[in-house]
């Protein structure tokens, strides 16, 4: 901690401050992408493949092009040679990359793949004209299951991907063969981490306006990664980056689905220049279900090597990851690096043998969705721990206790092949707090009593860990990323003493306008209202990577913190000079500089700022101006972790689940704004409960999406999410100046295994060990019937 921090009278960091952005959003004055209007704006509608796999015999666009109000129609033929393909950004070593044209060329490979785009003066005209595009297809056999896609007679999607096998990823740490030999038991389970549709409430939308005079494109896009979007668009259109201005406005949720590069972006941008009019596009919800990336979609075969006294010696995992028809942006890395790294969980499990097979199938491409690999990993280890507990007849909480990493072991690497270390924490304290808060012992007693009354209560506990806050640029490159891991913060102090932070982070509801202001105002000891946060406009924020992997506070926030500190240093120099003080005799508190020995001489921050620009009395060697730019390169990733405990009741006649209590004890390091932190956990846990009980993206064998709208995809509603008791244990992250680990995804990681654990615990009397997610009422009821015996 620096001198400046110690003298702080103002403290915003750690305060539960209500958000400044709320007023505008609540009053209906938010500005989301579809709210933008440009003069002469036209509307785009995409024509999409109705088949999962087919060759395109022909596409006739003449009738559509002649329809009322139509500005133009584009197919692959029209853009040939004019735009580039969509390229993935995270390609792990050895992965094959099939070509991915923005509009299908000769073949369509998933239901919903775009084949043409119609631009018309009104949305109605564009929708009408889109129906007149006559595409003729010859249907091909499709494959939707990852394991099936690898078999000999499976239809092949891409010429350069034999056996539909994109690649394989292996991690071996410790000595798993030895662990297997030493083990008393090998506990095996098969797990499905089902395909999900991220479903932010705001569907994807775009608004492009090309200015012919300056040959500049203004591109409004709800992107979590504005500067990456700019780079990708520039590459695809073969335009210089500086001629593209990305504007990411208010975004109605991202959750990982809005951080990729999509075909529609290329086409809408191209169309705005080609047809010389602004173009607006908004996907419908049904389109979102097929055209925006899905999440998860793994099948895992897990084997835990254990001793009779409950020590887990090693984990073996064979995983099949369904990447969909094309490689999406981060697709290859999620089921591999992002999953395999965490299969030992919070435990001292020193050997692993993981093999992940990446497979392409005739389905929507799969990419990051809140948690991106860590929910899958937590599910693997936690379901394994429950299976081990059953096998060895040890209480599941006790089993966990016997294996947890201890506080004196940090920084902890599970094995020598581990990609990172768990930084700080007290996993047992989290476990103890969670089990206390939920009254684990009490519920175990009640469970027995209630069973006698024919009621089935279940108690489930999960521990989880992840590494977030990517990350060190060199490390990212090593694992196959084509992007850096730093974040930018540019602070400009205006001559009236007000402050603007230009941050490369990009919120979609996380509250950066408040949180980041808290950080800067805290360091500079200014009123919160004096600090403005600007994000999302690449003409104003000149560089950045954006918001994903829970990195905004640890990386973006740290950048802002350091930039503010630099401002503070320069301001002190100027103030000292103005007051005739030394660094020792200069005091600063609450926005006012004071000479320690001449108390009557005081200088408000605003006056120092003014002097920075008037420049009449600056110390020698001091440049005018008061602004600092920081590119913060993280030195490590943080390890949010926690323990979630759930008590629920299963109605065995209907299979319904009622969650009676949900306790979360999470360690995400220092909380910048506790009010917002509780909100992040509640939201993440709600999505985790959604995965556990309600949601699944299902295809039939021919590749038709059976859950193609909210009529079938069970987006959780107010009556379907219980009250959640969130709380935090704070072990500061040693790796960044704020001590924050990152919080955005943790809820999604810890919730599914806790809920599944509780349901299976409730159904233990029926002999049920495991049920695959989502645990819908019919599935639970069927499991009870199939178990074949009545409750013992």
């Amino acid at each position: 901690m620096t001198e400046v921090m110690d003298q702080r009278a103002t403290r915003f960091i750690g305060q539960a401050i209500a958000r400044r952005e709320d007023k505008r959003l609540m009053s209906g004055r938010g500005k989301y992408t579809s709210d933008f209007r440009f003069d002469g704006m036209a509307y785009a509608v995409f024509v999409r493949s109705p088949f999962a796999h087919a060759t395109i015999r022909s596409i006739a666009t003449g009738e559509a092009a002649a329809a009322p109000g139509v500005v133009g129609v584009l197919t692959a033929r029209d853009i040939e040679g004019k735009v580039g393909d969509i390229k993935p950004n995270w390609v792990i070593n050895g992965a094959k990359v099939p070509s991915h044209p923005p509009l299908a060329v000769e073949r369509v490979r998933y239901l919903g793949e775009p084949v043409a785009v119609v631009i018309a003066a009104t949305l109605e005209q564009a929708v009408d004209a889109a129906e007149l595009v006559m595409a003729e297809y010859d249907e091909l056999p499709a494959v939707v299951d990852a394991e099936a896609a690898l078999t000999e007679d499976a239809p092949l999607l891409h010429a350069n991907v034999p056996a539909n096998h994109i690649g394989v990823y292996r991690v071996k740490g410790g000595d798993h063969e030895a662990a297997t030999k030493r083990a008393d038991r090998l506990v095996k389970i098969r797990l499905v981490n089902q395909r999900l549709i991220p479903s932010p409430l705001e569907p994807r939308a775009l608004c492009a306006s090309h200015d012919a005079t300056s040959d500049t494109l203004t591109f409004v896009v709800p992107t979590q990664v504005p500067h990456m979007s700019k780079r990708w668009l520039a590459e695809a259109l073969r335009w210089p980056e500086h001629r593209i201005r990305i504007v990411a406005p208010d975004i109605g949720g991202g959750f990982g689905a809005k951080m990729h590069f999509y075909a529609e972006e290329i086409l809408v941008a191209y169309a705005s220049k080609h047809f010389a009019c602004p173009v607006s596009w908004t996907e419908t919800r049904s389109e979102n279900c097929v055209a925006t990336t899905h999440g998860r979609a793994h099948v895992e075969y897990v084997e835990a090597a254990v001793t009779l006294d409950g020590k887990v010696l090693g984990m073996k995992v064979r995983s099949f990851a369904n990447l969909g028809a094309y490689l999406s942006n981060m697709g290859t890395g999620i089921p591999t690096v992002n999953t395999a790294s965490y299969v030992t969980g919070n435990y001292q499990i020193n050997s692993v043998d993981v093999e992940v097979n990446l497979v392409t199938t005739n389905t929507t491409p799969v990419d990051a969705y809140r948690g991106a690999g860590r929910p899958e990993a937590a599910y693997i280890i936690e379901r394994a721990m429950d299976a081990v507990a059953r096998e060895l007849d040890i209480d599941p909480v006790e089993l966990r206790r016997r294996n947890l990493v201890q506080p004196d072991q940090f920084p902890y690497a599970p094995h020598e092949a581990a990609r990172g270390k768990w930084d700080s924490g007290d996993y047992e304290a989290c476990l103890n707090r969670a089990t206390d808060l939920i009254d684990y012992a009490g519920w175990r007693k009640r469970q027995i009593e209630l069973r006698k009354q024919g009621r089935f209560i279940g108690i489930g506990v999960s521990c989880y860990i992840e590494l977030v806050g990517m990350g060190m640029s060199v490390m990212l490159s090593r694992v196959g990323f084509d992007r850096g891991g730093w974040e930018s913060a540019h602070i400009r102090v205006h001559s009236d003493g007000k402050v603007t932070l230009f941050s490369g982070s990009m919120p979609q509801g996380q509250g950066h306008a408040t949180t980041f202001a808290q950080i800067v105002a805290d360091v500079l000891q200014l009123p919160l209202d004096d600090v403005e946060v600007v994000q999302g406009d690449t003409d104003r924020v000149l560089a950045g990577h954006g918001t994903f992997n829970s990195r905004s506070v640890p990386v973006g926030g740290s950048a802002a913190f350091i930039a503010a500190q630099k401002i503070s240093v320069k301001a002190r120099l100027i103030a000292a000079h103005m007051l005739g003080a030394t660094d020792e005799t200069l005091l600063y508190s609450d926005g006012v500089f004071v000479h320690r020995d001449h108390g009557e001489s005081s200088l408000p921050f605003a006056q120092v700022a003014r002097m920075a620009y008037v420049a009449s009395k600056l110390p020698p060697g001091c440049e005018p101006g008061l602004e600092e730019r920081v590119f913060y390169e993280p030195t490590s990733m943080g390890a949010p972790n926690g323990c979630h405990a759930v008590v629920l009741e299963v109605d065995v006649e209907t299979g319904s689940v009622e969650i009676l209590d949900y306790v979360a004890v999470d360690d995400v390091g220092v909380l910048i704004n506790p009010l917002l932190c509780h909100g992040q956990m509640q939201g993440g846990i709600a999505q985790g409960i959604g995965q556990a009980l309600y949601e699944e993206a299902r295809y039939d064998e021919s590749g038709q999406l059976l859950t193609g709208s909210l009529l079938d995809y069970a987006f959780p509603k107010s009556e379907q999410i219980p009250r959640i008791r969130t709380s935090f244990l704070v072990s500061p992250a040693p790796g960044n100046p704020l001590g924050a680990k990152g919080i955005g995804e943790a809820g999604c990681v810890g919730a599914p295994p806790a809920v599944v654990s509780a349901v299976c615990d409730a159904l233990k009397p029926f002999g049920i060990q495991h049920i695959d997610m989502p645990l819908t009422p019919p599935k639970i009821w069927r499991a009870i019937q199939d178990a074949g015996r009545s409750a013992t």
Binding site: Y32, E202, G253, T284, G509, L710, F715, S718
Partner: protein, 168 residues
């Protein structure tokens, strides 16, 4: 096929030529630039497009503009002075009842409708009345708490007003 029609929007008399098939939500957003009603689905389920039609909450995506002939439409932009909305906004802000804000204008209108009908709702009542307003960010808890807190504030205010008048 078009029709010339009249309706009142946020207290102002409006005339517009619309195609029969034009949805009210598109007229509000694209013709009148009232973008506070949002489109979140295409199966009339998410509730993000909620507006008031003759005082009642409706899904503006499932009302044809022509059906609103002669009606009074209120969007969130026209509710700044509504006393119930004011209280709801205070609590939504204090209790962090919104994150991305996309569902929020509609959520507040729906909550207002509940509070006008039931001044002392239980948590169950609140969740039941809001289950046609989807939210992906918050997990609903803070929204429920904000509505319950608003109910208390409004009850208190009306008690105080009764007491005041009792002394008249």
């Amino acid at each position: 096929m078009k029709t010339h029609m009249n309706l009142t929007i946020n207290g102002a008399a409006r005339e517009v030529d619309v195609e029969h098939r034009r949805l009210l939500v598109h007229t509000l957003r694209d013709t009148f630039h009232l973008t506070g009603a949002h489109i979140g689905c295409d199966t009339s389920q998410c509730g993000a497009c909620t507006v008031l039609l003759d005082g009642k909450t409706v899904r503006s995506c499932t009302v044809l503009t022509v059906q609103a002939e002669g009606c009074e439409v209120r969007t969130m932009e026209g509710m700044d002075d509504d006393p119930v909305v004011r209280v709801l906004k205070k609590w939504f802000n204090e209790l962090h009842g919104l994150q991305c804000g996309y569902c929020t204008p509609a959520m507040i209108l729906a909550a207002r409708a509940l509070l006008l009908k039931n001044s002392d709702p239980s948590e169950h009542d609140v969740r039941a009345s809001l289950h046609g307003n989807l939210c992906r960010c918050t997990g609903y808890q803070n929204i429920v708490d904000a509505v319950l807190a608003s109910a208390k504030t409004l009850q208190q205010a009306s008690l105080e007003s009764v007491e005041e008048h009792a002394h008249d």
